[in-house]
């Protein structure tokens, strides 16, 4: 018996399993969101229905959280912009490099990604104390930059590798200087890669908890650190933690959805027949 319903959903068994798995994976996420809207008294209440309230968000707004949130936005954005501004040309030159040792340089850049962050904390902490960078946004941006740069370079290099050199040669003959070629031909062709890299770069800095915890105190503390601040002697403020957690998660979710299509989309197909 083939019903219209079955014709419309020929893979319903697989679809059902997928839906269940997605639900399972997203359950903590949904749980957190609903928790942020529950009244304080009913925070672990078992009832499925409750009257939503914005009291936790209001409490966040009146407290120090907006300040930390802004710190997060500023540090993550600055680190991303700087990492892209330095890393993209670096990736390009490594991709086109014909100088000796280009491979070695690329490898050593990658190595910085492999070292455990905790190995750097004590030296960084001491250095920052002396340099007056402790508990400053600048200090955080610098730390994030060191990690994001390697990410940007290694993510962008394959995108540049995929742009055929002949296109650049054609541009050179058409009258472009090296920079102009890079800006008008190469860069637009790697746009999907740029978008994906920038978002991943941002998320990486945004999600950082470890360095923000060690290297800041009050002035530059970021949102993830602030959330932990809700764990206090007098009790754990679950509602505010949930609300803050939801807020911190939002940009990540948003960007991930935005970048999804770029991550999947192929590059510069059709430019070269071969």
């Amino acid at each position: 018996m083939t019903s219209a319903w079955q014709r419309r959903f020929p893979h319903w068994r697989g679809d059902t399993v997928t839906a269940l798995l997605v639900l399972l994976v997203l359950f903590p996420f949904f749980y957190l969101i609903q928790m942020s809207f529950r009244p304080k008294e009913d925070i672990f209440g078992g009832g499925f229905f409750f009257s939503p309230t914005l009291e936790h968000y209001g409490a966040l707004w009146r407290g120090n959280f907006p300040f930390s949130f802004v710190n997060s936005v500023v540090t993550a954005s600055c680190a991303t912009v700087l990492a892209m501004a330095i890393g993209v040309p670096a990736a390009y030159s490594l991709s086109r490099a014909s100088f000796g040792g280009a491979r070695q340089i690329g490898l050593w850049i990658l190595v910085t990604r492999m070292a455990p962050p905790i190995a750097f904390t004590i030296p960084l902490f001491i250095a920052y104390r002396y340099a007056g960078l402790h508990d400053t946004r600048t200090g955080l941006v610098i730390v994030y930059l060191t990690f994001s740069l390697a990410l940007v370079i290694w993510m962008m290099k394959p995108f540049f590798d995929a742009v055929p050199r002949q296109l650049e040669e054609a541009a050179a003959i058409d009258g472009c200087s090296t920079w102009k070629t890079f800006l008008t031909i190469t860069l637009p062709l790697t746009a999907p890669g740029l978008a994906a890299t920038a978002v991943i770069c941002f998320i990486q800095s945004w999600n950082d908890f470890f360095f923000a915890l060690i290297l800041t105190r009050t002035q530059a503390s970021t949102a993830p650190v602030a959330i932990v601040g809700f764990i206090q002697y007098v009790g754990w403020e679950w509602g505010r933690m949930a609300a803050a957690g939801t807020l911190v998660m939002m940009p990540v979710v948003l960007f991930s959805v935005l970048v999804r299509k770029y991550l999947v989309r192929g590059l510069a197909a059709g430019s070269i027949k071969g």
């Binding site: 055929p164 002949q166 058409d174 009258g175 472009c176 102009k180 510069a268 070269i272 027949k273």
Partner: protein, 355 residues
């Protein structure tokens, strides 16, 4: 005048010499073909003229101007790449106009020249498309058009037809031929296809292992190849090259004697390569066979319609004979004569032409 000259040009990649002491004077307005097998240095030479490859030694001049160390953008050249290299993120119109836009030409002027070129190449309906949406032949036209709108002094074409199928290739070859006659610009055309070279060129430069072998018009090269290599490379079916020896005014093979061309001075008993084009070998009726003819033991008959190509043993060597349509069969024994005035004599050692 926009003559392109190369003076003692070398190109080395590390220890490898890609182009060796090339000196050329390419005529203004002519279509010059660089011809040779892959790896012979023809594309490297072209890229040096374009400025995409540095020159290890020597000078390149366009007109009176020494361009050896100029950037490609300052040489006023246009180039068509083997893979077209169209900008995938730009429409056909933008691709065509990009070079003008970069050079700061006014938008109205760009539009007019793009319209003109697209008319000429039959691209008018495709201007809003992107390269991805074009067929190979259309992409090729856009690549040509991009060179055309620029009004460059010299056009460089790097194997422009090699990615097209056989039928389209013949068609585009014609179009390039007509285009060249129409715009009258100097063109340098790189190919490994000797038919393209013969049909298109005003002048051919044959290269091998980075060295220029011969420069001349297609027919000059066909009629008087300067060495064994050129003799074998130009002409289809390939020229026959037989090992023989000089013997008192005649040429002696293992079992036959062929009279040598008149007025050629060869050291007696010198080993020679004797070349003759397959269509110059004469098949004679058995009754007329004499001491000046030899016997062809036919192994293969290729019927080409108008002509028949017979391949077989002659004097212990391989001989190709192109005859008018014939009904010879494998195993037949035909009397053939090698006319003296059709022979090309080459030194067996150096391969250089003697006569």
């Amino acid at each position: 005048m926009s003559t392109v000259s190369l003076e003692g040009v070398w190109k080395r990649f590390g220890d490898v010499v890609a182009v060796r002491d090339v000196g050329l004077q390419l005529p203004h307005g002519g279509l010059t073909v660089f011809l040779g097998p892959s790896g012979c240095g023809k594309t490297t030479t072209l890229r040096m003229i374009a400025g995409l490859e540095s020159v290890s030694e020597g000078r390149i001049l366009i007109g009176e101007r020494d361009v050896t160390w100029l950037d490609p953008k300052d040489r006023n050249i246009a180039m068509v790449f083997q893979n077209y290299a169209l900008y995938p993120h730009k429409t056909v119109a933008e691709n065509l106009g990009f070079g003008l836009k970069i050079r700061g030409v006014a938008a109205a002027e760009i539009a007019a020249r793009v319209a003109n070129a697209s008319q000429l190449l039959g691209l008018a309906d495709l201007l809003e498309r992107r390269p991805k949406q074009l067929s190979g032949g259309q992409m090729q036209r856009v690549a040509l058009g991009r060179a055309l709108v620029r009004d460059a002094e010299v056009f460089l074409l790097d194997e422009p037809l090699s990615n097209l199928d056989a039928k389209l290739r013949v068609q585009m070859r014609e179009e390039i031929y007509k285009l060249h006659r129409r715009i009258g610009k100097s063109m340098i055309y790189v190919t490994h296809d000797q038919i393209e070279a013969m049909t298109l060129a005003d002048g051919i430069v044959i290269m091998r292992d980075g060295v220029v072998q011969q420069v001349g018009s297609p027919l000059e090269i066909f009629d008087r190849p300067t060495n064994v290599y050129v003799a074998g490379f130009i002409g289809t079916p390939e020229m026959n090259l037989l090992d023989m020896r000089a013997a008192g005014g005649n040429l002696a093979g293992a079992s036959c004697i062929v009279s040598a061309p008149a007025g050629c001075a060869i050291a007696p008993d010198a080993p020679l390569k004797v070349g003759i084009r397959p269509d110059h070998v004469v098949v004679v009726p058995d009754s007329e066979a004499d001491s000046s003819s030899g016997w062809l033991e036919v192994d293969v008959c290729e019927h080409l319609g108008t002509t028949t190509l017979l391949i077989g043993g002659f004097d212990g060597q391989r001989l190709r004979v192109l005859t008018p349509r014939s009904n010879a069969r494998p195993g037949d024994r035909l009397a053939v004569r090698l006319p003296a005035d059709r022979l090309h004599l080459f030194d067996a050692g150096s391969g250089e032409r003697i006569h």
